[in-house]
Subunit: 129 residues, 2 copies
Amino acid sequence: MNIGTASDKSGLPPKTIRYYEDIGLLKPGRAENGYRDYSMSDVHKLRFLQRSRGLGFSVEECRQLLALYEDKERASADVKAIAQSKLGEIERKILELRELQHTLQHLVAHCHGDQRPDCPILETISGRN
Amino acid sequence: MNIGTASDKSGLPPKTIRYYEDIGLLKPGRAENGYRDYSMSDVHKLRFLQRSRGLGFSVEECRQLLALYEDKERASADVKAIAQSKLGEIERKILELRELQHTLQHLVAHCHGDQRPDCPILETISGRN
DNA sequence: GTAATCTTTCCAGTGAGTGGAAGGTCAAGG
DNA sequence: CCTTGACCTTCCACTCACTGGAAAGATTAC
């Protein structure tokens, strides 16, 4: 199938699919006319990439995951290690996000919402101390 | 203080601090010798940038967030509106991350982490379950 | 006094795409 | 058969938010 169909089936834009080929993630066949020709197996890999990128894995991590996916003798310990390190990152991000949420909530709570320019929280945070 | 100290205190690399100056996020003073000279107020802004960037806000969004601290002449109603819209974004980000966290936690919990070839993480990513 | 460690500027490269031009191909309608 | 429009191809440039490195000047430590 052509790249457009593969794009529809995988959820990845054609540009991205070509980019993934550029960086060696998958090599589809070529039709007589020079068009890329995607097999169902290629589409499965594209979907795999689409999902794992969406889970926050970097392209390099996706390359590793894809290799493990393709390798029937893979060790699931490798996959687990990658996923666990991602979990650590996610947790840190959530904690930081909550901190920022707190800061902004204070800001909003103490903001009069009228035309007066004074805002005690702004003054504090902008480093008067 | 010099850029190195500001870097230590803010957690941002000197390169990034200079970049933020380049794109007009903050303009430190200059010492006699031409070195950038950071005040505590500058350091607070840098720390704020460090946090908000780490949470997925774009530099343009950070510019707006920073304006909440800097622009004391702004009608506080505007300040409040911007802060509240950012709060909405933060909440959505937290929810998204929690979903991702749940998915990955579930997958890690069911992954044996041994040499057996079946791995629920890969199976899920590849979309057959 | 000299070596190590800043700091400065500028230029180039990264990751992960995205946009657009110039041209080749294909299926449908008149 | 011809044209139109939707595809497809390559290539080059651009994005964003940095990051690395070179060359040169300033400061600090022994």
